[in-house]
Symmetry: none
Subunit: 128 residues, 2 copies
DNA sequence: GCAAATTAATGATTTATTCAAG
DNA sequence: CTTGAATAAATCATTAATTTGC
């Protein structure tokens, strides 16, 4: 079975990479002309039509936003649900209990200060 | 000498099985709380810290995705290798690439967008 | 069989993104 | 326009598998 006559466009990896690269470099809602150029370029890698490009950017933009919103709301739930401390302190507590290597006493102000200055991943004991 | 001071965490088989089972059942980017719980549970089977759990899920997720992508592109290569669909009938899309930047008047992107949004079939070359 | 040498896996770091708040 | 928060991608580095010659 060479190919079932799929009713909808299916991007090849090359097409997908190019589209993602364009998105990464700022393209969000390409104009009609841009869409036509993009389509022409991508058709070197497989069948594609303008509407596919149009829909791809629409969907990708929407889904990126969705992802971000889900992440945000999940974290807000975490932060707001009850007594739990924010990530920073949770991980500090955990590291402290599991690994007493760094034995700086927890002066509240200082540990908080350290926590606030730690980096996004929060797991890196030695950083930058 | 109990153990050579290994510089990095090395999961025990039990720990690995549990982590993989969690991943299989949907855990991808566990929250701080989840990481705490998982770490507490896994430390019954050997030394482990929160950051190890965090890194494990990061890496595992990324590498599973990698595997999938490689499989996909190999699949595509196979599909396309026999096909040699060089260049389709180049619809009016292609011609459109050569379109001189419609320099009549700068059509505002927004109105263009609206038009496209209501009629994506405008990008269809000939039909449907 | 057994280590040294080489390769494959994978833990840990760094870098580049994302959206949206300020 | 800049920055905060949270990754995901890319990369570095070390451990485990394995290959190889003896």
């Amino acid at each position: 079975m060479p190919q079932s006559p799929s009713s909808r466009w299916c991007p090849t990896p090359e097409q997908l990479m190019i589209l993602e690269e364009m998105y990464r470099s700022g393209v969000r809602t390409p104009s009609a002309q841009q869409i036509q150029q993009i389509t022409a370029h991508l058709s070197n890698y497989g069948r594609i039509e303008g509407k596919n490009v149009f829909y791809w950017f629409q969907n990708h933009k929407a889904r990126e936003r969705q992802k971000l919103r889900r992440r945000l709301s999940r974290h807000y739930q975490l932060l707001c649900s009850g007594h739990s401390l924010p990530h920073h302190q949770l991980y500090c507590m955990q590291d402290a209990t599991a690994f007493p290597q760094s034995r700086h006493h927890a002066t509240p102000t200082h540990s908080l200060h350290l926590v606030l200055h730690s980096h996004p991943t929060l797991f890196l004991p030695s950083h930058q």
